[in-house]
Amino acid sequence: MNYKVNDRGYYGNFGGAYIPEMLYPNVEELRNNYLKIISEEGFKKEFYDLLKNYVGRPSPLYFAGRLSQKHSTKIYLKREDLCHTGSHKINNTIGQILVAKRLGKQKIIAETGAGQHGVATATVCALIGMECTVYMGKVDMERQKPNVERMRILGAKVVPALSGNMTLKDATNEAMRHWINNPTDTHYIIGSVVGPHPYPDMVARFQSVISEEIKKQLEEQEGNPYPDYVFACVGGGSNAAGAFFNFLDDEHVNLVAVEAAGKGINSGESAATTALGKPGVLHGSKTLLIQTEDGQVIEPYSISAGLDYPGIGPIHSHLFEVGRAKFVSATDDEAMDAGIGLSKLEGIIPAVESAHAIAALDQFQFDKDDIVVVNLSGRGDKDLETYIRWGKY
């Protein structure tokens, strides 16, 4: 079984580039150049140098003793929360801004939901000296004020998306419209493994540093590079794609993707795409999509702004369809409990997104010798208000 993208941009039945002609030349330019660019020695050197000295990689693989005890197994946390700007999102933005520079682009646009990708984009734009515009749903701007101000401090312009329900999906629509209107000097830094080919593959490759490091670190700490399980939350799916990437062909490694069930899968307020979605086309790729019978996209819901996206990246639709990854979900309540639980057990306040991955541990019976890696995609600083409102701590 092949889990990587094929040369036409598909993962099995999913992926491709379903875009209006106005976007075609941009996407084609990227498609024709991305592999060449990212395999150049000069690119790799610059990318890894920034990951090391600017982002702070490798991020630790921390043996979580008290959490392990709770689950009677061996649990490691991959500490993406310790990356500069507070989440894995920066791995991708560093990669893409270096690509944009080599394509001769002068301006950057991005979409953001929780604001983590927006902050990571604003950060690399400041670093490289490029003009940055971030689209963010008006509702999300109100929900995530500190991140809006962080982006502004970093010099980015934050534009409210006023269409639709004014959240992540609409911010993505607005960013695509901006790109249609500014086709030559602008690069669009998409924040997850979504969008038209080659984005899902490019973003997965930049995030694959996560599993590359996990392998090395497990080899050092356990004498065996292969875990029994890898857990990751899935919004669009970039941290999960990165955590799974170098284990995809090692079928004995169980991959667990955790979606946001919101108030419950059947509550009408959920973002559990594999449970609720059907194949469809949104934002340039064919993938599982939460939608009405008539093909209108349904606005998802999750307490975590980073997980409430109505689709998942095409790689995940494929991993789900062929059964290579197991897809489970955690509700708002379960995630918040798990986030507070981790804070008290390990002294780590996780992002609410990442707390979903922790919550899913409860759904598994592990052997005591199992090695379980949970990708802790981000830190909880941005979610303080959500934790305070939740209250039960």
């Binding site: 491709g16 419209r177 249609i180």
Partner: protein
């Protein structure tokens, strides 16, 4: 039976006016009323948009009309019924259905092509359907159902790709006037005119219509100098939004545009 689009272009190669509007806007039953009025007013082609929740290639005017249409309860299934009704009411001009792929995909692309043709549509425009997908999976289906297929080209589309699009097209090519989303504009910039001249000089197999930014007689006749005609969308939607008397307003709109 001959296709009404190919028929039209075989008898007329200048000043063709195609008018776009969103199905189910401003009211659910407007789809049929507007088609009749456009036909009576002398529009040459009627292009009916299938509303979608996420119209990424559209500016605010058409986005808004999509939202209102969906709030009105518009669906692909209803649209097929409305097209039948339009033909029943003796509208003779070509009808094109235009929409993003997802609603059509959920209806079933094969079923949609058949049902649309049977209802009386003459062509489809699915702007986010990839060329290879059309060529490999749907071209013969369109042909078997005697439906034209129109692709978009934009000022950034390469000549090589324009030729490939031309070879896969039946009916006409939709030349987007600028690198932009849809929206009404008052004039063309010099580089837009140069682009029209370039297209005009390419000796394409198919005729092309210019769309995006056409709003008045000036932009319509300018576009017509270099092409078979033009497509008006946002300007017409704006009219529908504000109109208190559709009969008169649509008649005047078409008259004023054609000059």
């Amino acid at each position: 039976m001959k296709n009404r689009i190919t028929n039209l272009f075989s008898t007329k190669n200048k000043g063709i006016l195609s008018v776009f509007y969103t199905a189910g806007f401003p009211n659910m039953d407007s789809t049929v009323t507007i088609a009749k009025l456009l036909d009576q007013s002398g529009a040459d082609i009627i292009e009916i948009g299938i509303p979608f929740s996420d119209p990424v290639a559209d500016g605010p005017t058409i986005q808004q009309s999509n939202k209102i249409a969906l709030d009105n309860g518009m669906s692909v299934k209803l649209l097929i019924e409305q097209v039948k009704e339009i033909r029943k009411q003796n509208v003779k001009v070509p009808i094109i259905l235009m929409g993003y792929l997802n609603p059509v995909m959920q209806y079933g692309i094969e079923k949609f092509v058949k049902d649309a043709a049977e209802a009386g549509a003459d062509g489809l425009i699915l702007p986010d359907m990839p060329l290879y997908e059309y060529e490999e999976h749907y071209k013969s289906l369109f042909e078997a159902n005697n439906l034209c297929n129109t692709f978009l080209i934009s000022p950034t589309t390469s000549e090589e790709r324009i030729k490939r699009i031309d070879s896969l097209t039946k009916g006409f090519i939709y030349a987007v006037s600028a690198s932009s989303t849809t929206g009404a504009k008052n004039t063309f910039a010099d580089e837009q005119v140069q682009y029209f001249e370039k297209l005009n000089g390419m000796s394409l197999i198919n005729p092309f219509l210019i769309g995006f930014g056409i709003s008045n007689n000036h932009t319509f006749s300018k576009a017509s100098e270099y092409s078979a005609g033009a497509i008006v969308g946002s300007a017409f939607i704006n009219l529908l939004k504000d109109s208190k008397d559709l009969d008169t307003d649509i008649l005047n709109f078409v008259k004023q545009l054609k000059g």
